[in-house]
Symmetry: C2
Subunit: 518 residues, 2 copies
């Protein structure tokens, strides 16, 4: 059948829930029902604790982990994370099989897990992102269940309404006290916000904190409180600081990025919401970060202060916070060392969880209050659909992240993408994979011109006097095809569905079929 | 039947759940099961909110409040609170009947609600405390259901495991933004910590924030996040600052209080846990606060820093925090203006909820980490049972508060009580009402001597060299009886049970029977 994004999806899929097709960005609403929450305390703890166990192995035993259960990890330590691989290897050694692995995301370092998929330790994956060899492996190989790819808000929704039930959450804990209080801003592997781990800690049945900085009770600040944590394990190192902070994302020197960034800032200026107290999110890509720098100049010039900035936070936003150009930051993920320090030291830099950020079924997620979001894309199409998930070979190598969430929430969603990458057109008739539906995308900014979604006549009108090179999306596509020399051949794919792209409401937005050899 | 505290309790009680008798402070454990949580979002909110309603009346309609439901309020505004009376009067005007009213506590100002009990608007009450005319009314009058009196930890437990299901929580919100983020540290009626309201906000099906300081989204800091709040109402005033801050509780000038406070501090010094990083709670009574001042001198002398202080917080603790004598404060309730400011300005002063503070069935409440707690008592008995709930006429005029919670949690629980009040002995054969069971009480400090619970031989040994006037509890009782001139006659009570004193685990610790006229 075809869903509302025009994608051909199956009516049922082995190992996957009853399929509900994507029906529009705001069409599928929460059912009646209570939120799911984790189990009541499992143990009657000794008077003063006894949560600290001697090893990961001991924690696996204590957690009651069994064949067929679901385990989770957060990805706040990014490519510096040691915890997911370490714990999964220990689980493998114990011979536990048939697990569903549901981290908030996978990163390059998780290629080491491929053998665990091959030997049946892991039989299913649920994630926001997939990269590198593991992305390729899960694109090409059919597991017992299809891989589920969800945006951050969709993951929080699935957890909070009991669709994704986590049996054991293993939390990388940069600082943890002997009774299980955790924060991410202190310790040798400080990562900043624990926005993803907070959700797992609230809802998982059993929670194990894994730390390399075990300190006396109690810590300050507390991000994840003791009453959610069952066990604490001290290890030598939970991560490599070099891989945790992804380096200072302070804007690009690439002329093409700068062209797009400047235009994106002009769109913000003219689209109608650039006013005192406006709210924004900028992606962590080079063009998005550079947009922030251009915006800063506009804000100073017009004496406009942003009410908030949200999303994954980069150092450039912390500078704006310190300058008084942003009133407060809400941070689910801290991308660089500057941001980690700011979260630790500046009370106006607030940590919050990914459910608060983006769950479409709670009583009001923060993305709903966005005026602007500026995000990147691997490719876009004439229906304004965005792909950030698969590469030109159809291999999963990206992350939905908060892309669909912020796009749905913001009054004005701006996508920056170059018209070509190498010789490949990036504005096409149809993206390989829809990760964010076009109805939630308002403006596409390329290095050769911008296009406004026809469903946003108000924005078109506002941008008329801006001097921006406005074109139709078809014109951009035609330019892209002309510059690349030819309309690209559609990728040939097999019938084998290896992954499901869920929209934030849990409907099926698209599926991933394994590409055929060229 | 007799429960483990030796009290005669009924085997069943109309309008009350299946009775489980108190079986010992640590005997009744959590059942297998999930925590209850509030409902998934009820409305698909418009893009940017629409949570702000025009009046309390409109919010009552929007909340879906119906006959027979349960409503809650928090008591952080204490005697300055306008919200509970205001909302209940509006509910009465709408003709809604048969409600269960389950605030975190009642205060003197709630005497105004008596007519609502009389006309059937309210048919049941659940609370931590009862005072004044309402306390008398609920002691003397049998409602459709007995009044349930729970300690703070017991209330959080009952809410978190679904025993107390709140249909609509009305939250007094000193500062609230247009999308429902709430804090208690800003605004004309700032009250400090929202530790009680936080629990209601998490678990109630519908949450209405009532504020007199409605501001633009978003605020900083956020104590109760937007995704838990359904509706926001602006009113002229939510409270009277004079009644909110109960005045500077900076220690007593009363010589008898000072004698007890000095002895309590000496008990702390010698009992065995006065060491670097120790954890303490002091009650908000005069003797307890004064104990803190004596303790300060000992800490300075011995260069000992407390790891944390918890409980309701008073200004004297904030001074110790600023002096560096306490590493961090955890605050569920801020008793005075100094404390409210400290919570706002000092990042080491942490707000947390009453479940984290004291729920016996979560994965580890903060009270479990206490070394010392110093609390008051109305009367104590030879079994070390404490009464803080009923006066000498058997009328409910107190609050369990965190008394049973901290007493169960602390390694050393110290109770201060004068031997006589007026001519009445305060150490007796048997307290009128058991609010905290004797097995969790370690040391009784009176102005004429102290007694150590015989089940704590370790403490007796430690205190031997202290020079403190240690006596047996029977000696103290005999002194009290001798000084008062006679052993008091037991109060005559009827068979009418009007209230149930629940222990923190939900078992029946005692019941309140209406006293007979003299």
């Amino acid at each position: 059948m075809k869903n509302a994004a025009g994608r051909e999806i199956p009516t049922s899929l082995e190992g996957y829930k009853q399929i509900v097709p994507y029906a529009g960005a705001f069409a599928t609403r929460a059912p009646e029902g209570q939120r799911h929450w984790g189990r009541l305390t499992k143990a009657a703890y000794p008077h003063d604790g006894g949560k600290v166990l001697k090893s990961v192995e001991e924690a696996i035993v204590a957690s009651g982990l069994k064949d067929g259960m679901t385990v989770s990890f957060h990805h706040a330590l990014r490519n510096g994370d040691y915890v997911m691989n370490m714990v999964m290897q220990a689980i493998r050694k114990r011979g536990i099989k048939g697990l569903t692995l549901a981290p908030s995301s996978f990163l390059n370092s998780n290629d080491a897990l491929i053998p665990l998929f091959q030997d049946g330790t892991i039989v299913a994956a649920q994630t926001s992102g997939l990269r590198s060899e593991l992305g390729k492996f899960l694109t090409m190989n059919k597991l017992a269940k299809p891989t589920i790819v969800r945006p951050h808000g969709g993951r929080a929704r699935a957890i909070e309404n009991g669709e994704l039930r986590i049996d054991v959450a293993f939390l990388a804990a940069p600082t943890c006290d002997t009774y299980g209080n955790v924060n991410g801003v202190q310790g040798p592997a400080a990562c900043g916000s624990l926005g993803y781990g907070m959700v797992d800690a609230k809802y998982a049945d059993t929670v194990v904190a894994i730390t390399d900085n075990l300190v006396e009770h109690p810590i300050c600040p507390v991000s994840i409180p003791q009453y959610m944590v069952d066990y604490v394990v001290k290890v030598d190192a939970i991560g490599d600081p070099k891989g945790i902070a992804t380096g200072a994302l302070r804007g690009s020197q690439n002329p093409r990025d700068l062209i797009m960034a400047r235009m994106a800032a002009q769109v913000v200026e003219h689209a109608g919401y650039f006013r005192e107290g406006f709210a924004m999110q900028l992606g962590a890509g080079a063009a998005s970060v550079s947009t922030g720098l251009f915006l800063r100049d506009l804000m100073v010039r017009d004496k406009i202060t942003a009410g908030m900035a949200i999303g994954g936070i980069v150092g450039a936003f912390c500078d704006l916070l310190d300058e008084g150009l942003i009133r407060t930051l809400f941070d689910t993920q801290s991308f660089d060392a500057r941001t980690i320090e700011s979260l630790r030291d500046n009370p106006r830099h607030q940590e919050y969880d990914s459910g608060n950020y983006a769950n479409p079924w709670n009583k009001g997620a923060m993305v709903n209050k966005l005026d602007y979001v500026v995000l990147g894309a691997t490719e876009v199409d004439v229906n304004f659909n965005v792909n950030v998930m698969t590469d030109s070979n159809g291999i999963m190598m990206g992350a939905l992240g908060g892309h669909p969430d912020a796009s749905a929430g913001a009054r004005c969603t701006i996508i920056t993408a170059p018209l070509l990458r190498g010789r490949l057109p990036m504005v096409t008739d149809s993206v390989q994979t829809i990760s964010t539906p076009g109805e939630t995308i308002d403006v596409i900014v390329t290095d050769r011109g911008i296009a406004v979604n026809p469903n946003r006549k108000d924005l078109s009108d506002n941008l008329k006097g801006s001097g921006l090179p406005i074109k139709s999306i078809e014109e951009l596509r035609d330019m892209a095809y002309a510059l690349s020399g030819a309309k690209p051949e559609p990728l040939k794919v097999s019938d084998q569905i290896t992954a499901v792209i869920e929209y934030r409401d849990g409907t099926v937005l698209d599926v991933i079929r394994s590409p055929l050899p060229e």
